[in-house]
């Protein structure tokens, strides 16, 4: 009998998938294996002493298999873990619903506690249409079958729960992703709509100066010039705010690729020349080529160096020099931008990377966001950034240095991090179409 039961259960349970199918396979195979008429499983509900019918096999609807079939005292014994065999239902005083049992053709019922990990999980009932007797050893074996049932059931339920959890997590991820994409496209739209009127107003003002400057007095001309400058400042602020939000919300994920530091620095140096030369500022470079490649955002790294360079240009007098240095040191690439400008006062130095911090609040140029954007970009690449003023070696100017690990993996807030595996996704990059700066 044993061999047959185990084989029956093993083959049908293995073939079944999903908790319900497994439970069904379990009661069917146990019924067949024990040559019973039918089989039921009742589960203890959440450790409460209440049995809930889970499934039955081989019984008609007329038989109250969903209800208690044992009187209270006997039931308590079973719940204490003792198997019970009513070998003659008709004469057994412990059995309830006798008439229905007889009508159903049930002669014996075995009640087997289902244990798993030292705990009672429920009971299994086996119904027989002839008088069946089990010796102790057989009962023990059936007990083991019941436990096997519990293990299978629990395994299947855990698996289903895991699948449900995974599905929930997947939905949550999709929701967060949608939310992010929504937010980014909202940002782009807002930026576009904020800037468009400024571009228009500035266009008219520019034309006014161009065509009618001779009809305006000097003060008015100056006023219009100032208006144009103020609009420039506001557009810069809008761009910077957009940049910060994009970095914060993980937009950069779509920009990640293998990036050559040689190219990044080369391009940044070229752009610095373009910025500096019209102002009569020289650009010197000390770069230890070749530099390694990293997995990073090329645009952001260039933006980082260029932000530092444009700060330097702003505060460096005509004829002075800006020096860009870059080299690899162990597992890091270290880049610095040094100027010969007025420097930063010691008490202001610790604040320069804070948002909206401006060394000179009255300076109409700059938004106070440039260095905080730099800091975000460096953070995102797991690096470090710091400022020195005056530069220790020369005793003047300012030097901002950052280091970025070579084996860099881009780091973002955890919830965005989860999406890292998606890599560059077309729709995401296309969603950027309306980026306005």
């Amino acid at each position: 009998m044993r061999h047959r039961i185990i084989q029956e259960i093993a083959s049908s349970v293995v073939a079944a998938g999903g908790v319900d199918n497994i439970v069904q396979a379990l009661v069917e195979s146990t019924t067949r294996g024990t040559e019973a008429k039918g089989c039921s499983i009742l589960i203890l509900k959440d450790d409460e002493p209440v049995l809930v019918h889970r499934i039955s096999y081989g019984l008609s609807k007329d038989y109250p298999y969903q209800e208690q079939l044992l009187e209270k005292g006997a039931m308590e014994q079973v719940l204490k873990g003792n198997p019970l065999l009513a070998w003659d239902v008709a004469s057994d005083p412990r059995i309830l619903h006798k008439e229905e049992a007889l009508k159903e053709g049930i002669v014996s019922i075995a009640f087997l506690p289902i244990h798993h990990q030292e705990k009672l999980r429920g009971i299994m009932r086996l119904y027989f249409s002839e008088k069946r007797k089990f010796d102790r050893e057989e009962l023990d074996f059936l007990d083991s079958i019941a436990e096997l049932g519990a293990i299978i059931l629990e395994g299947a339920e855990t698996k289903e729960q895991l699948a449900r959890d995974a599905e929930e997590a997947r939905l949550e991820m999709a929701r967060v992703r949608d939310e992010r994409e929504h937010f980014l496209s909202f940002l782009s739209m807002v930026t576009h709509d904020l800037k468009s009127p400024l571009v228009a107003v500035q266009g008219y003002l520019t034309m006014l100066l161009r065509k009618n400057a001779d009809k305006l007095d000097e003060r008015m001309v100056k006023g219009v010039h100032r208006s144009i400058q103020r609009i420039d400042g506001m557009m810069e602020l809008i761009s910077d705010l957009l940049e910060l939000s994009r970095i914060e919300s993980g937009q950069v994920l779509s920009e990640l690729k293998t990036v050559s530091w040689n190219e990044v620095l080369g391009a940044a140096v070229d752009m610095t020349h373009e910025l500096a030369e019209p102002r009569g500022i020289k650009v010197a470079t000390e770069i230890g080529y070749p530099l390694p490649e990293v997995f990073a955002s090329e645009i952001r790294l260039q933006q980082l160096i260029l932000n530092l360079a444009s700060n330097s240009v702003r505060f460096t007098p005509r004829g002075a020099t800006i020096t860009i240095r870059g080299h690899q040191e162990n597992d890091e690439v270290i880049v610095s931008v040094e100027d010969e400008g007025a420097g930063i006062e010691t008490d202001k130095l610790p604040h320069v990377f804070e948002e909206f911090y401006k060394g000179d609040p009255d300076d109409p140029e700059g938004t106070g966001l440039g260095l905080s954007i730099c800091k975000r970009i460096v953070d995102m690449h797991n690096g470090d950034i710091w400022a020195e003023s005056p530069v220790p070696e020369t005793g003047k100017g300012t030097r901002v240095t950052f280091s970025i690990p070579v084996g860099v993996t881009c780091r973002l807030e955890d919830r965005w991090m989860l999406e890292g595996g998606r890599g560059v996704k077309t729709a995401e990059a296309i969603g950027e179409d309306s980026q306005i700066t």
Binding site: H192, V199, G203, D433, S434, I436
Partner: protein, 131 residues
């Protein structure tokens, strides 16, 4: 005959400002307020140069640009295009390449706001080169 420039931009104020600038210089200006109109007017007016905004309703500038590479527009494919937009250049390039698989070969890319003289110089150099 004055050179004819097609300006495609959905912002009427931008159109007005650029009209003032170009008409003063003696260019003939044709205006389209979206991409669909631009495509029609390219065929009708046969401009010497196109100034194209990218973000426009209905048919946007990317699509116009792409259409100019289509064989139906072969006759007009040599017209130089100045992209004049508030979208950053590398962002536009990336998007266009992702969508079409080819590089966006414009004659010039200018980000708004643009200096009047810069725009005029660019136009002059392109139309001059074309003749």
């Amino acid at each position: 005959m004055p050179e004819k420039i097609l300006l495609a931009d959905d912002d009427p104020d931008i159109v007005e400002v650029i009209s003032m600038l170009l008409e003063d210089e003696g260019y003939e200006l044709v205006v389209a307020k979206d991409g669909a109109e631009a495509l029609e007017k390219i065929k009708l007016e046969n401009p010497d140069l196109i100034i194209l905004d990218l973000l426009m309703p209905h048919v946007d500038g990317f699509e116009v640009f792409n259409m100019l590479r289509d064989e139906r527009y072969e006759r007009w494919s040599k017209i130089p295009v100045i992209i004049l937009t508030s979208v950053r250049e590398e962002v536009s390039n990336r998007r266009y390449e992702l969508e079409t698989g080819v590089k966006m070969n414009y004659a010039s890319y200018m980000e708004k706001p643009v200096e009047p003289d810069e725009l005029l110089d660019t136009i002059a150099s392109l139309i001059g080169a074309d003749n």
